[in-house]
Symmetry: none
Subunit: 127 residues, 10 copies
């Protein structure tokens, strides 16, 4: 997983940087390949974040997620890497990635990972 897919991600200036708000993006068509068996994996990736100076652009996000299509990655690794890449590119106030993977061998796995900007106090407001 040495490729640097995060260069695919594009951003645009947060149109309302003075305001605290939350964006939730749901991607049910993620697919990658199991690094041990070469078999395809399927997942829904949910991205929730409060942007700071920039937002990610949706079409580039789609291209970024498609870059994993033929990559061999473990569930935990890919969920964390998506967080790493999106944090690196957008420097958000807060971000959470949820990876919901399809059953393999009768076993289903979810991975949850979260980032908070140093000094930022996060309070969920979409509930």
């Amino acid at each position: 997983m040495s490729d640097d897919f995060k260069t695919i991600l594009e951003t645009f200036p947060n149109p309302f940087p003075d305001r605290h708000y939350e964006v939730e993006t749901i991607c049910p068509e993620f697919t990658a390949v199991c690094p041990k068996t070469g078999q395809p994996d399927f997942a829904t990736i949910v991205i929730q974040y409060t942007p700071d100076k920039v937002n990610f652009e949706l079409k580039s996000l789609k291209m970024y997620l498609q870059a994993f299509r033929n990559q061999g990655v473990f569930h935990e690794a890919v969920t964390n890497r998506i967080l790493e890449d999106l944090v690196a590119v957008t420097q958000p106030r807060w971000m959470k990635i949820t990876g919901q993977f399809s059953a393999r061998g009768g076993i289903r796995t979810n991975v949850y990972v979260e980032y908070v900007q140093p000094g930022y106090v996060h309070k969920r407001d979409n509930q």
Copy 2:
């Protein structure tokens, strides 16, 4: 997005300004255009607010939302702008806008943004 659609919005005096209450308006037929591809976007816009001195008038809200029909706007920008415009016109005690956008490229996005009048302590009461 230079047009000033908020002049379309009309208000009427809050009939019970001494009382704290909440109004929730659900608009499932919002449509605008993607600023990158020119393709139409569809969304449900939910407006929740506690009025102070004035309330927005519903027919003018419909006309206001229809004004975006052929405008190119990002999801985050349009959700925030609706908040901006409605806050400017109605000066509410509290207001929250939720934009639930249809899937594009297999990816679905929600945007949540909230305003609280300085000095006002908001407590949700519709739950």
Copy 3:
């Protein structure tokens, strides 16, 4: 779509060739690529058939369907081709393929195609 994926398919002798019975196989994790845009497509493929001399083996079916992963194919073409290939390899008494494709550009498509062995009168018995 010149590749001959059907060589991937393996069969085993119908364990009960004298008996009329029906097999229904549901594959919700099919993915291919749009031949016009290069974008990934997702589908559920349902295979229903009455075997004659041989049955297809499930693991080889999985490999066969995975072979389309990076192929550019139209919805109608791939649904028909799966029927062609499975008929060529298993020579069934009856077979039906249903392709249920995910939304693209806000538009969702299903394709239905059926084969009956000459002289065979098909009567569904799983209802």
Copy 4:
């Protein structure tokens, strides 16, 4: 409604013209304008057909349906016109259009219209 939108529609050769099969396309994001009031209308358009020599291409279908966005059209007229245009361009063996329109003034309308090629006996096979 004098414009000839059907020139937008593109086709590709039916990949399996010798076979009888059925395609079902569901378009929940149709919008046009009421010819009497100028207010926007919203609908789900369902297209079902058995292709003969050509199939319509999905991206061009999307563009075709988007062409109605700012057109003033009655419910019955637009549903019939979509049938007319798609029949003219694809000359199918059988085609059915269903238009499901959102409520206006508390009244909700559906329109159903069907075409059968002269001499063709249609038998639904997606049930």
Copy 5:
């Protein structure tokens, strides 16, 4: 019920008179008055028809149905009268009216009535 409300109904020329198609209009906000007690009645009126030379216009239908608001009418009479009026004005090939009335005195009533143009063979096609 001596008033002639049917003059309220407007029509427009059937845009596709050579084609057999079906229109279904659902009106959940009908209200009239019980002729015995003066109490309000509420109903959903469903209109299904195959137009011949003209179609009824939806806004005039809304006005027509609203004209019953302060009329005293029996359930059976009003359902049949709506059929009479719509048949008189539109001369359809086929029409069916369903009146679903809310409970009164713990008793709930539905009325079903149908018209077929002499010589016309009706075949439902919205199923």
Copy 6:
């Protein structure tokens, strides 16, 4: 059960006697008394009919059904008697009574009974 409750039933001239139509009346608040134990019974009575020269009036139907309140009647007898009485008074083209009785001693009973006018061919049209 010697009382003649059917004198309570009032009718009004069928407002559209030349037309075939169907009326369905649902009465969930029927109660009578068990003739063996004196305990109250509860039922939903459903009346479906095609009127001929007269219709029953709903308020008188309510009074008629209430007359059973303190009568001792078997489930089968009361369901048949309601049919007898309504047929005697309205002489319909077709009528069906369904009695759905609440559980007694852990046992629940439904009774179904139907009448067709001699020479009349009944075809259900509310389906």
Copy 7:
């Protein structure tokens, strides 16, 4: 299962013997004992019939079914015996017994058995 429980069943003259109608009785609290293990079995017994000269009385039916409480009986035997006994006592035009037995050892069983009076043509009318 030598006991003759059917003497418990009481009947009353069919109050409307000239009419064809159907009675459906649902008994969810049936219990007996497994003849092999002595363990209790639980079932719902559904009785559907068209009476001829007599009907069974519900309280005696309850007592009859309770008589099986401590009897050892196979599922098939008890369902058939209930039919035998009720046919012997009521001589119906048509009768059907359904026995729905609770899971035992992870296995659930239903038994369906039907009787038609010689020369009688049965037509279900409760559908």
Copy 8:
């Protein structure tokens, strides 16, 4: 799959051999092993039959189905073999086996197989 598990099955004389009736047995806890991978498979096995001279005994059926626990068997083979064994032991008038297998590799399979005694005309009566 050379073992002869059918010797495990016990029968008892059909308590009502002169009557046509139907028994339905649902076994949601079947498990066997994939003959290619050695991985466990899970299924619900549904057995429907009209007994002739003997019925299978439920406890022995449970033991019989448990005998497959560590056997390697294809879905089609095991469903057909259960039919073979139960037909051999009970010689029924009619029998149908449905095997509903859990997903493996993202693919789910159902198998349907039916037997009719020569000369017997089967008519389903549990519907």
Copy 9:
């Protein structure tokens, strides 16, 4: 409503008076008569209580509730009176009556009333 129905109520000694527990009794077949119109009313009465020295007996409760069958009583009055009577007879630690009345004139009413024994601290434990 001068009759003293509470003499119908029977009690039995609380079998476990040293223990705090809760009894909940649900009576969906309550019926009385409207004191203004003489029309029947229907309700579900729910009784929840923590017994002290005695419990009410269920069969006598049924007779007590049936005594209201032909009484003219307002919704609020009857709900409160049931509490009065049951408190007088059973002297419970805590009791709550809920009256859920069927719709009349399109309006549905619930009445809630509660009693706590002086000095007793009630804590609900059935949640």
Copy 10:
């Protein structure tokens, strides 16, 4: 109800006595007899507890509950007695019994009773 059924109950040492956990056992096939009428009663008994030194064994619990099959017991008495017996035998940290009894005379009853070991602070953890 003088019999001492609790001798039927067997226990085994709590395998993790140092840990606080909760066991919930649902028994939908409980049946006993009404002490006033001799009629059978049916109930679901729910047992929830936090074991201390021993747990009850499930097969013996089944035999214990079956011992009530022909016993005459009031709803409140049997629910409390099951608590008494299970507390005596297992000395749990906390236990709650819920008895949900089937309708009798149109009236349905639930009984809730709870035990807490002296000095133990119970906090539900299955919610």
